[in-house]
């Protein structure tokens, strides 16, 4: 019988459990926001963590494990979206707000969670992604750029435009226009 205390798989599990598993809850919230379906989100998070476990030897201790997990999550999500052909409708989110960005309304003093979630849902998805990764997940610009596979300049310009759109949506008391599918791979006219 194997001495399981010495088992290398147990060692991997212990390290993974200490480093990666504490991020599962936040990872799930991100997946749930993106997928809008509990079963899909559960599949996505499970696939992400299984993939992370198998690749755990590639994780560099001392770096941001949540950023590493988000990168895997985003990669799997992109593959799923491509498989579902959800990236076919091409639209530049900058076109939708280009004329309105110069006027950025003041931020309301009191923002309810419901208003904020509705406003966030209403802005273009590439802006939602950046705001979630920056303001909720607290990733650096560099980590966001790696997770989304876009240049850092794109992260900065999307964050600026996204926050402006969010403030406009909040001031309008709801969604910033109708929700539509947005291209996932780069947005024309952005800094990069």
């Amino acid at each position: 019988m194997v001495d399981r205390e010495q088992d290398t798989s147990g060692g991997v599990w212990a390290a993974f459990e200490a480093e990666a598993l504490p991020h599962a809850d936040r990872l799930f919230r991100l997946a749930m926001w993106w997928e809008r379906d509990r079963r899909e989100a559960e599949d996505l998070v499970q696939d992400t963590l299984v993939q992370a476990l198998k690749s755990f030897h590639r994780f560099t201790p001392g770096t941001n494990c949540r950023a590493w997990l988000v990168t895997i999550l985003q990669h799997l999500r992109s593959n799923r979206r491509r498989a579902r052909h959800r990236d076919l409708i091409v639209e530049d989110p900058n076109d939708r707000i280009a004329d309105t960005v110069p006027f950025v309304p003041a931020v309301p003093q009191h923002i309810t969670d419901e208003d904020m979630l509705a406003a966030l849902r209403g802005i273009p998805e590439p802006y939602q992604d950046i705001i979630l990764l920056c303001d909720v997940e607290d990733l650096s610009y560099k980590e966001i750029a790696q997770a989304l596979a876009v240049p850092m300049g794109t992260v900065m310009s999307r964050l600026h435009r996204g926050r402006a759109a969010l403030r406009k949506a909040l001031a309008a008391g709801g969604a910033f226009g109708a929700e539509r599918q947005i291209p996932r791979d780069g947005v024309s006219g952005e800094a990069g």
Partner: protein, 273 residues
């Protein structure tokens, strides 16, 4: 620093993405500029509100049942991570995390992880070597004999039957009930037949030194999906100090259905033990 520059750097400033010197320069400007101060405060308010709304939204929260099943499935998956995949960095991470996690809590969790992997392995091994290939070194004994020798749970499970004899794919039959030993661990073994395939319910003492925090939330008798372990699909549930595994080469949905038919009867029988 001018207002125009502050506005250009405002997003990076509230996101903590500017250099220390720039932070100081912006701070100096904000002291004397009410308009820029209001702009920065507004951005911070939006940032804090987004975080609070997303992190607090109940609709986005993970179910505790899923969290429990996920952790168990990952533990099983960890047993398949080849030693060759474990580079020096993993061992350094393990050493670092062990050193950092001072105290009994982490040690207890680690021992619990090892003990859980051993339980899952032994349940799969017993199904393979008792129900499928009959290669046990010690012959199985009737539950009555086991009860006379060892007392405890054996008699309570003698007459246990599925909650329903007919599942979506046909009848679920009990072929045998006995006690057997695999890898030094004694089980109550209920052998079932569903869709012309053998399935096992294996009940044994939960020998882990501690249970996971979420197991207290999911409650006893809650079914955990262990996914595929080796050649078998597995599920488990806890009752008192016992753990029950359902093991079969049936597909995932079938094993879940079999497990659901057995969870209630086994739990009720053990509750009376």
């Amino acid at each position: 620093m001018e207002c125009r520059e502050v506005r250009q750097l405002a997003d990076a400033y509230v996101s903590d993405q500017v250099l220390v010197e720039t932070v100081e320069a912006i701070g100096a400007h904000l002291e004397g500029c009410r308009s820029c101060r209001a702009e920065i405060e507004g951005l911070r308010r939006v940032r804090a509100s987004v975080r609070s709304a997303v992190q607090g939204a109940p609709d986005l929260a993970m179910r505790s049942e899923f969290a429990a099943a996920l952790a168990q499935r990952l533990q099983v998956e960890a047993t398949r991570v080849a030693p060759a995949d474990t580079s020096r960095r993993v061992w350094l991470a393990l050493a670092a995390s062990t050193l950092l996690a001072v105290g009994l809590g982490f040690g207890l969790q680690r021992r619990s992880s090892m003990a859980w992997v051993a339980l899952v392995d032994d349940a799969a091994g017993d199904h393979q070597n008792c129900a499928i290939t009959f290669k046990l070194s010690e012959a199985p004994i009737p539950l009555t004999d086991a009860a006379n020798r060892y007392g405890g749970i054996y008699r309570q499970l003698e007459g246990v039957e599925p909650s329903t004899a007919a599942l979506s794919g046909g009848s679920l039959q009990v072929l045998d009930r006995h006690s057997c030993v695999y890898d030094g661990r004694r089980f109550v073994h209920i052998v079932l037949r569903y869709k012309a395939t053998t399935a096992s319910v294996l009940v044994t003492a939960d020998t882990r030194p501690g249970r996971w925090p979420w197991e207290a939330r999911t409650g006893e008798g809650a079914l955990s999906d262990l996914g595929v372990s080796g050649n078998y699909t597995m599920a488990s549930f806890l009752v008192g100090r016992q753990v029950a595994f359902v093991v079969s080469s049936l597909d995932h949905d079938d094993v879940q259905e079999v497990a659901q038919a057995m969870t209630g009867p086994v739990s009720r029988a053990l509750a009376g033990a």
